[in-house]
């Protein structure tokens, strides 16, 4: 019996590829202007109005300690499930889905300082790609701060 191949969404930041489990990905959108969210944790770049639903957009550059860059029309947003809520992730480019052959995903979970747990690493011909686990992407403290910042905004989830 062959295990079902996992599927991941590949995306790029500063020329470096990362991945998310495709099961967590809801939707992709081109970057749009964001509304600042007061009192939100630093990792939150702003609020996105997605067809009437307000979602926090997280700045992955800050989380991965990459040089900051202002929002550009060429950026993409990945709308994804992060534990209890949907979030937007700003990335340079979403590359597409990749079906993983059995054996290409190393599922030894490991904790990266400041990034939370990584669901695993995919071995691709051109190198390793870390698959991020969004459930642990926000720290407890950030999650609480975000929740309280969101309660101040009517219509935010």
């Amino acid at each position: 019996m062959t295990p079902t191949p996992h599927e991941v969404l590949l995306f790029v930041l500063e020329g470096q590829r990362y991945a998310l489990p495709s099961a967590d990905v809801r939707e992709l959108a081109r970057a749009v202007s964001l509304t600042p969210l007061p009192h939100a944790p630093d990792v939150v770049e702003g609020l996105l109005n997605l067809r009437g639903k307000l979602l926090p957009v997280l700045d992955l550059r800050r989380r991965f300690r990459l040089p900051p860059r202002p929002l550009s029309p060429s950026d993409h947003f990945i709308i994804a499930r992060a534990g209890p809520r949907d979030v937007g992730l700003r990335v340079d480019r979403a590359e597409g889905l990749l079906s993983l052959e059995p054996g290409t995903l190393d599922e030894t979970p490991r904790e990266l300082p400041g990034v939370g747990y990584v669901a695993g690493a995919v071995k691709l011909p051109d190198g390793l790609v870390l698959v991020h686990d969004l459930r642990t992407f926000l720290s407890e403290a950030e999650s609480l701060a975000l929740a309280s910042a969101l309660t101040a905004v009517p219509g935010a989830s």
Binding site: R30, V32, S33, L48, N49, R51, G52, S72
Partner: protein
């Protein structure tokens, strides 16, 4: 002016110049900050709209509207890869007036054309922006004075092509009520007049 074929182009010179352009084009953003902000704001409004019914969604066409020679054009965004602001063009001696020149896009040579001659007008020579278009990859650059907006247009607002324009080929899909010419991307990219052999041996 003597007739020269592209084969007589000083490629070493052209390449050197393209190299220099590459260095200059290290600007990541191809839009001015203000333009970028406008694009992002417009998209934010689009995205914030409550979902339309499925039927309504199929009646909307997402297009980029751009201006050239006093005329507005629109092209479906699925053909549009990016917009370059004032890229440096390397003109080709003896090229048809349609072909404004070559530019470099991330190391690939991209032919840049101006559409006005296809409409029987003289080439305007204007063009502060170049729309990079193609099916799945960058195939062609289109000159534009300005890219106005990316917008969703209800198909109901589109009128059939008047006979006067029908002769320019199949790549006008329709005319908007406001006079914008809607281009048919697939026809445009498949038009032999817009396919240039820019290899060393080519006599485009």
């Amino acid at each position: 002016m003597p007739e020269r074929k592209t084969g007589g182009l000083d490629w070493a010179e052209a390449r050197a110049r393209l190299e220099r352009m590459m260095e200059n084009a290290a600007q990541a953003d191809t839009l001015s900050p203000q333009k970028a902000r406008e694009v992002l704001d417009a998209r934010a409004q689009e995205l914030a709209r409550p979902p339309l019914s499925e039927r309504a969604a199929s009646d909307l066409l997402e297009v980029a509207r751009f201006r050239l020679g006093g005329q507005m054009y629109a092209l479906a965004t699925r053909f549009l890869h990016e917009v370059l602001r004032a890229p440096e063009l390397t003109p080709l001696p003896g090229a048809p007036p349609l072909l404004r020149g070559l530019t470099l896009l991330r190391g690939e040579v991209l032919p840049v054309v101006e559409l006005t001659p296809l409409f029987g007008r003289p080439a305007s020579g204007l063009g502060a922006a170049v729309l990079v278009v193609g099916l799945g990859r960058a195939e062609l650059g289109l000159c534009a004075e300005a890219v106005e907006e990316v917008t969703q247009v209800p198909r109901d607002d589109l009128l059939p092509v008047p006979t006067a324009l029908a002769e320019v080929g199949g790549w006008v899909s329709s005319i908007h009520r406001d006079g914008t010419i809607f281009l048919e991307g697939e026809e445009l990219l498949g038009d032999s007049r817009l396919i240039f052999d820019i290899s060393d041996e080519g006599n485009a």
